[in-house]
Every structure is written in structure tokens, then in C-alpha cells.
């Protein structure tokens, strides 16, 4: 029949969900997840720039549009740098330490994309006030 609409497939739904996910998220700015890399002098000297670089490469390759990467100053625990923390809407903050490019790539895949905290790299879960 001419003009008949094509049936929606599961793949279409997945694509639409991915495209519109950001609009339904809880956090201001519309991001589902936010990763912050500590970029103080201690962090930079320990390799934080490489962590940031790996994260940007991974984020670009994944095509995820609801994840934001940013930086912050010294995290106050210079001996455990490079450090980063991951915030996912509706979940406690997870702070990771002693990072490198390989570790952050695993965190990106397992925690940010799949929602499983990489416990072996985690320093603490929760806000400063809770540990």
C-alpha cells in the first residue's frame, strides 16, 4: 500500500532512546553522567592529563551524548593522584584513585556506560561527608 509507514524495530527504539535520553535526565544541563578529573599540580605531575586524554578519546569513540567530562583542581589527596570522580544521576558519587589511561577506559565502559562500579579502582563511594 503506498504511503504505509515502516514498522518501528527494536533498533529504531534504541536509537530514539539514545537520541532523547539527555532530555529526560535528572541533572541540570541534561547529562546522565559526569566525570571530573582532578587537574591540580599533583594530578598533572602524576598523569591526570593522560587520564583526561583517554577519557575524551573513549567518549568520542562511543558517541554517547549524555556524558560530560570536566576537570577540577587538587582533590586533597595528592599521593593517590591521578584521581577522578563519577556522578551518575540518581546514584552516589564514586571517587577513583591511582588512575591511568587504561583504568579510566575500563571505568568508562563498565561504570559510565554499563552502570557497574569498578570497585578495585574505587577509593570511596559517596560524598565527602559520608566517608
Amino acid at each position: 500500500m503506498p504511503g504505509e509507514a515502516r514498522k518501528l524495530t527494536v533498533e529504531d527504539l534504541k536509537r530514539i532512546k539514545e537520541e532523547h535520553r539527555a532530555t529526560f535526565t535528572l541533572r541540570e544541563g541534561g547529562y546522565r553522567a559526569k566525570v571530573t578529573v582532578n587537574m591540580g599540580t599533583c594530578g598533572i605531575a602524576a598523569g591526570a592529563r593522560e587520564v583526561m586524554n583517554a577519557l575524551v578519546e573513549e567518549l568520542s569513540a562511543s558517541g554517547a551524548k549524555d556524558v560530560i567530562v570536566t576537570t577540577a583542581g587538587c582533590g586533597g589527596l595528592c599521593s593517590r593522584e591521578p584521581m577522578a570522580w563519577v556522578e551518575i544521576a540518581g546514584q552516589p558519587v564514586v571517587r577513583y584513585c591511582d588512575l591511568n589511561g587504561q583504568k579510566i577506559k575500563r571505568i568508562f565502559k563498565e561504570h559510565i556506560l554499563d552502570g557497574r562500579v569498578v570497585e578495585e579502582y574505587a577509593l570511596a563511594v559517596g560524598d565527602e561527608t559520608s566517608y
Binding site: 578529573v37 587537574m39 591540580g40 599540580t41 599533583c42 598533572i44 605531575a45 591526570a48 592529563r49 593522560e50 583526561m52 586524554n53 575524551v56 578519546e57 567518549l59 568520542s60 558517541g63 551524548k65 560530560i68 567530562v69 570536566t70 576537570t71 577540577a72 583542581g73 587538587c74
Partner: protein, 181 residues
């Protein structure tokens, strides 16, 4: 710090922390004179004369800590090559930090990956305009985040923020490399 590019990122992070809206990073190489000059200039909150005079003291910080190592590390790296560091700052106007290096000195650190440093700076502070200038002899490379347009980034549609960052890294490293040939 392993190389000059890491110092650049570290000092430029100070500029961002000082509330700068514009950060200029300039690297001038003079192979004939055997010198390298690094300038980082911002329009952040600036420092009074007393604070600026103490900025290179590792046991001084203006950020409520008991130490501040970024500027002392850079000064040490410069002095080890026979160079030095100067800070010009005015409260409310901004800060310009200039450091000079002996390019052929045995203790001169490698330049490192400046593209990656600018990328990390822009990624962490997307609202700050970052200008990077590299000069070697008469060759000059100039990069300005305000001049970036989608055409530079990717053909066939707007690029995402991470894609833009990777392009910035590549543009800067290619720009420097070509002028070093």
C-alpha cells in the same frame, strides 16, 4: 613535571582558577639564540605585589593550602637551563607569567604534547577562550578557540564536544610539527 607542555597546562589551570575569561599561551623558540620563551597571560583576578612576589615560594599558596608547587616547579625547570621566571600581575586586571629556557642546555626538558595540554585545558573550561601561539624563527602558528568553526571540525554535520577536543589536539600538534621541519 616530565616536560614543558605539562607545566603549560598546570600554569594555565591557575589562570582558569583565577577566573580568567581569556588565556593566551605563547611559545617562542629561537634556535639561533638557543632560547625558548613561554608566556602565559590571563585576565583573571590578578595578584597584588606582595602575593606575586611570594608566588614562587613553594610554601606559599593563595588557595588556602600550605603549599603551592606549580610556579616553583616551573621556575626550577627554567633555572636549571640557565633561564628564569618573571611574573607581572595587577589585581583585577590579570597576570602574565614569562619564563625563559636555554634550549640547548643539557637539562632542558622536552617540549612534550602541547596539543594534549590545550585539549585538557579547553575540555575542563569550555567557556574560557584559549589562544595559543607558537613561533620558531620566522614561522608562526596561531590557534584561537573563538575562531574554530564547524568546518574545521568535521565535514558532514556538527561535531560533539569530545570530537572537537580531539581536533584541537591534532590541529595544534600538526601546526607545531610543520613549523619545526
Amino acid at each position: 613535571m616530565d616536560d614543558i607542555s605539562l607545566h603549560i597546562l598546570d600554569i594555565a589551570e591557575n589562570s582558569a582558577a583565577a577566573g580568567a575569561r581569556n588565556i593566551a599561551i605563547r611559545v617562542f623558540e629561537d634556535p639561533e639564540a638557543g632560547s625558548l620563551t613561554l608566556e602565559i597571560e590571563d585576565d583573571g583576578c590578578g595578584m597584588d605585589a606582595e602575593t606575586a612576589a611570594r608566588a614562587a615560594d613553594p610554601f606559599f599558596s593563595a588557595k588556602g593550602k600550605k603549599f603551592g608547587l606549580g610556579i616553583p616547579f616551573l621556575e626550577q625547570a627554567a633555572q636549571e637551563t640557565g633561564g628564569g621566571l618573571r611574573i607581572d600581575s595587577r589585581p583585577g586586571r590579570g597576570t602574565k607569567l614569562t619564563s625563559s629556557f636555554g634550549l640547548s642546555h643539557i637539562d632542558m626538558k622536552p617540549i612534550g604534547d602541547i596539543g594534549q595540554s590545550v585539549m585538557a585545558l579547553v575540555g575542563g573550561h569550555p567557556d574560557v577562550r584559549v589562544v595559543f601561539e607558537y613561533r620558531r624563527g620566522t614561522c608562526r602558528f596561531y590557534f584561537d578557540t573563538d575562531k574554530l568553526n564547524e568546518g574545521d571540525i568535521k565535514e558532514g554535520g556538527p561535531a560533539s564536544f569530545p570530537d572537537r577536543l580531539l581536533v584541537i589536539k591534532a590541529m595544534i600538534n600538526n601546526g607545531i610539527q610543520r613549523r619545526q621541519m
